[in-house]
Symmetry: C2
């Protein structure tokens, strides 16, 4: 019997429920690691400087350590002569003391000898044997980096909860800290489920699909700083599934499965979670894509059953898994995706009771602003995952996004590479070929929105080129009527691209002896159709019309 999602829970409610049932989501524990291994982990202790930095007064230049009072009147015409009494080298305590009328040669970074209050740069002196002639005065403290001037012993330099990057490592190393207390990154085990799944690299039988989720979820977890292990596709047997998940739960903080959560058939995951003694706290999420989601907790561990469609599973990673991972790592729950502002090219419904994450492609308008084209590929798409620059989020109480509305785009990459050439409209594999020959593949972007969408993109200033094949039924000519309709007369050029040869593809040897369109009407012939509205289908329907004598093609043809 089909399982129905009786009570959908919002993403925020789900996080609150998790918080409640776990007695708070929090960092998992503290480990001590060598400094270099702390990179990209989160500091679990406040760091107070154990020493001054620099630990001693040091010279900032190559020159001579002197007493500023001695050279108070020095100039090019009234130079002052000092006696060189020694040398201060890097890494050693200087043996010489600088008395009145004396100087000590000193290197950048060397310790200032006692008695000196400044360093004169070697550019402003002339040395002859032990005699130094100084042509400039110095101020007390000049060219001296004073002990503790950068960091004083006891200063709080880094706070618990700081993500350790190379910069934090610099500060820690400078203070002599070789081992660091960090939060232990969460251990996550990932499984795919689904009888239809085949691992990439193996042969794909009909009606089967390659497993995407296991790979993308594991990679995302690694990107999020978790320690993720992918354990492959779970066998389609209750017992095998249960024992694999039980074992994973033993060894990890979080177990994530994908697939087998939709209400239709495979409700096995819910049963396995429950039978493992976990409390099912979410059973359907008010998220689109991402509704068929199960969340269960056992002791302080979490089981996520994510939907099988890759885009759905990924979006759930952003909305509900990532915040949990972030908190467990010791960070704030919001994932640090970079953001840009963009405007939407058209109005479309979004939200309507669900938190909806919509992947978008960005293009730069002629006026320099950004437009975000929603990828209407559906959650079953994998191409859309690769094509999108980021996503926009619709809140639950939103009904639609308006044309030209300004939205915040969460970027997948920190820096946005704006394509120089935007080709928006009806798509054709030939465009890719042309771009490759022209060496433009990296600097261009092709967005498929159909012929009409292309004309609108030209009108908005988003598109540089639009592919179009719109038939004017009055003149039976393509495209040339459009500039007038769009108010773009004298503003666009229409170039004839190329013609297509369209034919019927038959089995080798043409066993059914198909000669023309009339054969398509035979009951023993099945045709694989192009979708309605496509140019080919329009042509086919046109050609069939006289043969059908008023009958609807859907009725007369096995398509």
């Amino acid at each position: 019997m089909a399982l129905v999602f009786h009570k959908l829970v919002s993403v925020n409610e789900a996080l609150k429920l998790l918080e409640e049932k776990l007695g708070g989501i929090r960092p998992l524990g503290v480990i001590e690691v060598p400094l270099l291994e702390s990179l990209n982990k989160v500091l679990a202790e406040d760091i107070r400087a154990p020493i001054d930095y620099p630990p001693f007064d040091r010279s900032m230049v190559d020159g001579y350590a002197i007493r500023s009072f001695d050279v108070a009147g020095a100039s090019d015409v009234t130079p002052v002569q000092l006696k060189i009494v020694g040398k201060a080298s890097i890494g050693s305590v200087p043996e010489s003391h600088v008395g009145p009328g004396e100087a000590v040669e000193i290197a950048t970074g060397a310790m200032i000898p006692r008695g000196a209050d400044s360093v004169v740069m070697e550019e402003y002196v002339v040395r002859k044997g032990d005699t130094l002639t100084v042509y400039r005065p110095t101020a007390p403290g000049e060219n001296i980096n004073q002990a503790g001037s950068d960091i004083s012993a006891g200063d709080y330099v880094l706070r618990a909860g700081t993500l350790i990057t190379s910069r934090e490592i610099a500060v820690l190393a400078g203070l002599g800290i070789s081992r660091v207390k960090v939060y232990r990154p969460p251990k996550v085990t990932v499984f795919s489920t689904g009888v239809e799944l085949v691992p990439p690299g193996e042969l794909l039988a009909t009606a089967k699909l390659y497993d995407v989720d296991g790979y993308v979820i594991t990679s995302m977890l690694n990107e999020l700083g978790a320690e993720a292990t992918f354990k492959g596709i779970l066998p389609d047997s209750y017992d095998a599934m249960k024992s694999a998940i039980a074992d994973a739960l033993e060894k990890s903080d979080i177990v994530i499965t994908t697939g087998s959560t939709s209400a239709g058939y495979g409700d096995m995951i819910y049963k396995v979670f429950r039978d493992l003694g976990a409390e099912l706290i979410v059973h359907g999420l008010k998220a689109r894509p991402g509704k068929p989601t199960a969340i269960a907790v056992k002791d302080r561990k979490i089981l996520f059953g994510l939907p099988g469609f890759p885009l759905s599973a990924m979006m759930n990673m952003y909305t509900i898994v990532a915040p949990v991972i972030m908190i467990m790592r010791g960070l704030e729950p919001n994932v640090e995706l970079p953001k840009v502002k963009a405007r939407l090219p058209f109005r479309f419904p979004a939200g309507r009771g669900f938190m909806e994450l919509i992947p978008v492609q960005l293009v730069q308008n002629v006026d320099g602003s950004l437009s975000a084209y929603p990828l209407m590929t559906g959650s079953g798409s994998v191409a859309g995952i690769g094509l999108s620059d980021g996503f926009i989020a619709a809140e639950e109480n939103r009904e639609y996004f308006d044309e030209n509305e300004e939205v915040t785009v969460n970027l997948f990459s920190p820096s946005l590479r704006i394509p120089e050439l935007n080709i928006i409209g009806s798509n054709c594999p030939g465009i890719e070929v042309v771009l490759r020959v022209a060496g433009l593949t990296k600097s261009s972007r092709v967005i498929s929105v159909g012929s009409m969408g292309g004309w609108i993109a030209i009108k908005r200033g988003d598109a540089d080129i639009a592919g179009t094949h719109i038939l004017d039924e009055n003149t039976m000519q393509y495209n040339v009527h459009m500039p007038k309709i769009m108010g773009l007369e004298n503003e666009v050029y229409i170039y004839r691209g190329y013609a297509r040869r369209i034919g019927l593809l038959v089995k080798k040897g043409n066993p059914k002896n198909i000669k023309g369109f009339e054969d398509l009407l035979r009951p023993d012939v099945v045709i694989v159709n192009r979708n309605k509205g496509s140019g080919t289908r329009v042509l086919l329907d046109m050609k069939l019309r006289p043969l059908l004598k008023g009958e609807r093609p859907e009725k007369a043809i096995n398509g």
Copy 2:
């Protein structure tokens, strides 16, 4: 003898020279790795889809596969009855064929049985035994995800030179690709040099410093996607240094040393590079910080001798090492640091013949805009490295940045956490204590610009609170005269913070029997002074003035 930088080379010239001498900087080679290991590597091949995606027509919903023509007129009042002839399950080729008046039960993702042209959702039907009552019409293609509609076999889906993130992994997995050709990441060996250096964790003798560079450079390289190995501090012997670097050069694509490049004393690195048979192509860089830099090439390998000051070494990493690493990885040379626009709070000199990278701290002004406070800490600072949010770059031909000039800030972190409370002015360790007690450490930022800088920050709207101790010599009162001077009357509140007790710290037992300021004039007494301009020094000078009877304190006191 001191080594002088005779001919400084700009960063761009240095990159051009590298390009020339290496016969082009380019990716190092191609390796094939399992899909999950390709994360964060760069694709070395164009990927054409080997299969359609989806590979078969599949249902997008749970429901029944039907012929749309059969239910053309279906509605709540005129439902249509169909005969259920089978079931299409996920992962199997459906055994049943949908003839006129027939339906096949189907799950989301299952293959569409032959004969059906659409799927009616289970919400719009009622099933009784083998009879299906349909209350809604369907359009041909409805709820069907057509084979190849997402990706057609032969489509170019990913291009060589693409950084592989979790999203690219999703696309590759979906197409069944289990092993990927990627560019081999560059192998880099890192050494520190300097007799003054001690590894963090060991005891620090006087005049010694903890090694920062080895740790920060290695971490930065790992962040940049190179395979970096830190081999510690090189011994201070020509032979040992030469053999260690020769060995590293054998095993790596790039060898980086830090320190021993300044013109004063330690010119050992240049000699070692040359004696290893490498051609020294850069010997001094028009970069600030970062001038004392050596670059040499041997065969197709590069030796970088970076300066010893951590900030100098880091800035060179951004300007010259990172572009080389990026190209060798197969990416564009520019490092993908996120950027924001900000305005500068005051005018300051920058550039003047050098490419200058200036670390900045960002604060949000009351009007919502960002101000970038340059960290004037000097290249010897390590605190500055940790405190800065990013850096601004001054081109060689620039003379200064102007007050309120808009600049682009290259951010160290992808997302900027704007502190809620900005405390800008004269600093005091007590502020940190107060913030900790108040639980405000995470949401606040303390920027030290001195008392006057604090007043200017208040005036600009950057600072919420400013620490100040400016004495009015006319009234001998602190701070209360400032609002009038700044034109901020009735706009600021002055709260009295706390008073300091100032004293003289002497050796245990006070062996020199120091009782007061007059003892400081004794020739056998040496005082460790606060810097000129500090409140304490002003007080000390004031107290000494009557005792000195017109003599300058620098002359009368051993400071």
